[in-house]
């Protein structure tokens, strides 16, 4: 079924003559046309300057001396270094002649003054010209080069008279030799613009089709006709994807051929040194790498087309998408970025770096494969999203049921919660950039915890008219929650040390220096009481309000299972601890704390746990009870494991027999959940 669908898409596009003319034909004609015209203008200008007669005037107290030099200079025959030019002297003159374009140059022959910062009495020929006139500039260039030639000849003559070597070559020669093949050099050059060029053309070409295909169908009302036919949605999406890829690649090919033709017929020249020698294997690799790239670009365009309700909306989104794709495609330009680095995990950027690697013979199959896979995976994900968009009932049913959008209220909160936390994250990040040095640790903690976390939470509760008791789970837990926390917090801390060590050893090996500087960053000059207040109590209470209160409440209503909500809550919590290698331990803490809230139905045990966690991590160290290099013995891990198990089993819903299955909508029920 994909065949007929694809043919239909392409046939309809080919009939849209106006779009084709503007999007495909126009660039083909306009680009060389522009180059031709500008070349023509440049040639004419050059001709005018070449054939011109440059008028000059001589003034000054040393005019007689000047005249003899100038006469010699203008009599020099044109050769490889001196251009051909005709000069004509126009009697006496001054700057007013110059500004009236009566002469191109006014030469002042004089003795040096203090202002020249030369030895006094040095003879000076000052050539006055007007930079805004092409002729005057050209005249100055040619005039001065002749004067300098005369001076050089004079110097050489004096050197010879004194018996010194006059030419530099007589002293010895400095020379350079390039051993790289022209092909490799060309590869380096090509690798800089090949991928951005391909991505740009794919985007431009694919966009023509993408706009027409889903948002266009919505606008023309043909989408329902298509969806009520027996073609499957996956087939429709695939056919549309293939159509976007086909048109995108066609535009790439057209432009490459176009470029080749214009280079061949000499409309313009390739950059110097662009000799290309591509082995068949290299070419095959490049084509292979472009596959996920084409798929990714096409799927992105299609998704935007699916989300947009009309052409107009598509055009609104398209530039953003263009930038989002172009920027990673420039990764190949970054100096020193090797294929064997984390960049391969970034869709598009990985392929960009891999392309460069192929062209300069730095290819590595394993890393290349990861780059391929990351882009291909992103493409498949986007494709799934497009299918989702086509299955979205709002697409068909219209916007009749979207009134919540306009009314706000608690029901809207789960939809917006992630956006709000993204905003808080940006604030948090900027605050640590701007105020980090100015305010010191205490000031920054207050801004983050009170300003951003507490303030943000309060604003969200107010804005969406949320019920604070419900949102923050302000309920008394079952008494077993307290011993569970007292056992769980130290156990988790010990396990956390183990996890950090695993992470640092296996996942992201950190240089010693980084770890040390991090340890230094935590050495605080605050004193015990302040450490406990600022680093344990304050975060324990306020971070819980923001993350396990407001955020978890929103996530719980958005995600299907309590587990998913806890996981997402942990990941987001981790991301707020900006430093890369703290994300995993704090993320885990976030997950555990979310589970504590979900299981007990109360936020208080999580606050205590968080507080204890921070206090236990800092206080013994501060008091000098343990050395920072203390290695945790194996039996401690085993004990901690048992402790965690006991703790989690003690964390049970307050009322026995409380609902265990999550209600379809709702936050944490009074009894909590048992995930």
């Amino acid at each position: 079924m994909i065949g007929p669908l694809l043919r239909n898409e392409l046939r309809m596009l080919l009939r849209d003559t106006r779009t084709l003319l503007i999007a495909v034909v126009a660039p083909i004609v306009v680009l060389p046309g522009w180059i031709l015209v500008s070349n023509f203008v440049a040639d004419r200008e050059e001709e005018r300057i070449e054939s011109a007669t440059y008028r000059w005037a001589l003034v000054g107290e040393e005019a007689a001396w000047g005249e003899s030099i100038i006469e010699r200079a203008l009599d020099l025959p044109a050769d490889s270094t001196l251009g051909d030019a005709t000069f004509e002297r126009v009697g006496e003159g001054n700057d007013s002649l110059l500004s009236a374009s009566e002469v191109e140059l006014v030469v002042v022959a004089r003795r040096a003054t203090e202002a020249d910062s030369l030895a006094t009495d040095t003879p000076v020929l000052e050539v006055r010209y007007r930079a805004e006139s092409d002729l005057s500039r050209a005249a100055r260039e040619r005039f001065v080069e002749r004067l300098e030639a005369v001076r050089e000849a004079e110097r050489d003559r004096r050197f010879r008279l004194a018996g010194l070597p006059a030419s530099r070559a007589e002293l010895g020669v400095v020379s350079t030799t390039n051993v790289a093949s022209a092909g490799k050099e060309g590869g380096r050059l090509l690798s800089r613009f090949l991928l951005p060029f391909v991505v740009m053309m794919m985007l431009g070409g694919g966009s023509i089709m993408a706009a027409d295909t889903i948002s266009g169908e919505k606008e023309r009302g043909t989408l329902e006709t298509l969806l009520t036919s027996s073609a499957r949605r996956s087939e429709i999406v695939r056919a549309k994807l293939l159509a976007v890829i086909t048109v995108g690649l066609a535009v790439v090919v057209i432009n490459v051929v176009n470029l080749a033709i214009y280079v061949t017929i000499g409309v313009f020249d390739l950059p110097e040194g662009l000799a290309l020698e591509l082995a068949p294997a290299q070419l095959a690799l490049l084509l292979l790498l472009f596959l996920p790239l084409a798929g990714l670009v096409a799927a992105g365009l299609l998704l935007v087309s699916g989300i947009a309700k009309s052409y107009r909306e598509y055009q609104l989104y398209a530039p953003v998408l263009f930038l989002a794709f172009l920027i990673p495609s420039l990764a190949g330009l970054l100096p020193g970025l090797s294929l064997e680095s984390a960049i391969v995990l970034v869709p598009l950027a990985g392929v960009a770096v891999a392309t460069t690697a192929v062209l300069v013979d730095a290819w590595h199959p394993l890393w290349g494969l990861v780059a391929f896979a990351s882009s291909a995976g992103a493409a498949l994900y986007l494709l799934r999203r497009v299918e989702g968009v086509l299955s979205n009932e709002r697409l068909i049913a219209g916007t009749d049921f979207d009134e919540a959008e306009f009314r706000g209220g608690p029901a809207l909160f789960p939809r917006h919660v992630l956006t709000w936390f993204l905003g808080l994250w940006v604030l948090f990040f900027l605050a640590s950039l701007w105020f980090g040095d100015v305010l010191g640790v205490r000031g920054q903690l207050v801004i983050n915890l009170v300003g951003i976390f507490l303030g943000g939470s309060a604003w969200m509760v107010h804005r969406y008219r949320l019920d604070p008791v419900e949102v923050l789970s302000l309920r008394r837990p079952r008494w077993t929650a307290w011993p569970a926390v007292l056992i769980g917090a130290p156990s988790f801390l010990v396990l956390g040390v183990g996890v950090s060590e695993l992470v640092n050893t296996w996942l992201f090996p950190m240089p010693e220096s980084v770890l040390e500087s991090f340890a230094r960053g935590l050495t605080l000059d605050l004193g015990l009481a302040q450490i406990v207040f600022f680093l344990a109590i304050l975060p324990g209470v306020l971070e819980e309000i923001a993350f396990r209160g407001v955020l978890l409440h929103g996530l719980r209503r958005r995600l299907r299972t309590p587990w998913a909500a806890a996981l997402a809550c942990g990941v987001i919590f981790g991301l707020f601890h900006v430093s890369l290698f703290r994300i995993i331990p704090t993320g885990l803490l976030g997950i555990v704390l979310a589970l504590v809230v979900l299981r007990t139905g109360s936020i208080y045990p999580a606050m205590l746990w968080h507080l204890l966690n921070n206090a236990l991590a800092l206080v013994p160290d501060e008091l000098g009870w343990i050395s920072p290099d203390l290695a945790v013995p194996g039996w401690a891990y085993a004990l901690a494991f048992v402790g965690m198990a006991i703790s989690l089993s003690l964390l049970r819903p307050r009322t026995p027999g409380a609902p265990r299955a999550p209600s379809p909508v709702g936050g944490v029920p009074p009894g909590g959940y048992s995930p």
Binding site: E393, E403, G409
Partner: protein, 272 residues
């Protein structure tokens, strides 16, 4: 199609569709309706705008998924066998436009093909449609250049291009001039004579009166009445369909006052 005369071509049982509106919770557009349509029969759904006609028909066309209840088309379940349902179905509504840059003939070929009409008989089928709807003159003209009457013919031909046993016409005469509307009614009658099962929705009384063998009166997502015109006359003592409709909606709607309508406030009894 004659073999299917004894079994319903479309069977709808307790079908329900609610949309989730975060402020008000569930909004029920179709609230537990049941009916059947037989081959060779025109089943009319009569109701005001927003009564749930289009939502019902869209569920039958598999574009919307029912919240509960079941529906089959030629024995195929609309949820589990979407592709087979659509293969047996021609769907025509105000929102099923044609591709403007295809010619009339290409439109018919394309839709017959993607609906799985056998390739070897496709040309003959398209020729037959072109003759039947008298579009030979402009079969190679692009849809965008055709008059609205011509477009309507192509659109009906498109709906039956793959010769499906079940046809859905959702408010097909909306926006048509008198002559085109009459033509539409004529075509539906012909299709009925060929043994197709036809679901016909409208809010125009005279059309339904003339065309439909059985009529379902839909109001606020509920089927208030179901029967032949004569049965409805007998039940209400009214002669004209308009009066019958008003009787049901104003008097009998009292039983449905708890139904949260799409636009009405739930729980307000109708003025009577």
């Amino acid at each position: 199609m004659m073999t299917h005369l004894h079994t319903p071509a479309v069977a709808v049982h307790d079908l329900r569709k609610s949309f989730f509106d975060e402020e008000r919770g569930e909004v029920t557009a179709v609230d537990g309706i049941s009916f059947e349509a037989l081959p060779g029969e025109v089943f009319g759904l009569l109701g005001a705008n927003g009564a749930g006609k289009t939502t019902t028909l869209r569920m039958l066309s598999t574009v919307l998924t029912p919240s509960s209840g079941s529906a089959t088309v030629m024995g195929h379940d609309v949820v589990k066998e979407g592709e087979r349902v659509r293969r047996n179905l021609g769907f025509h509504s105000a929102s099923t436009a044609l591709y403007p840059r295809l010619t009339a003939r290409e439109t018919l070929e394309f839709f017959a093909r993607i609906n799985g009409y056998p390739e070897e008989r496709l040309n003959a089928r398209v020729d037959q449609l072109v003759d039947r709807f008298a579009i030979r003159e402009y079969e190679h003209g692009r849809i965008e250049k055709l008059s609205s009457g011509m477009k309507q013919k192509v659109s009906i031909a498109r709906t039956i291009a793959h010769d499906p046993p079940v046809l859905i016409f959702d408010e097909p005469t909306v926006g048509l001039d008198v002559m085109n509307a009459i033509e539409m009614v004529k075509v539906v009658n012909e299709l009925k004579a060929e043994g197709k099962a036809i679901l016909y929705s409208s809010h125009i009384m005279s059309e339904v009166e003339k065309l439909c063998d059985r009529i379902g009166i839909l109001h606020r997502g509920r089927l208030l009445a179901l029967g032949t015109l004569d049965e409805l006359r007998e039940a209400t003592g009214e002669h004209y369909l308009e009066d019958i409709f008003v009787t049901y909606v104003t008097e009998r709607a009292g039983t449905a006052d708890a139904v949260p309508g799409i636009f009405g406030e739930p729980g307000t009894p109708p003025a009577s």
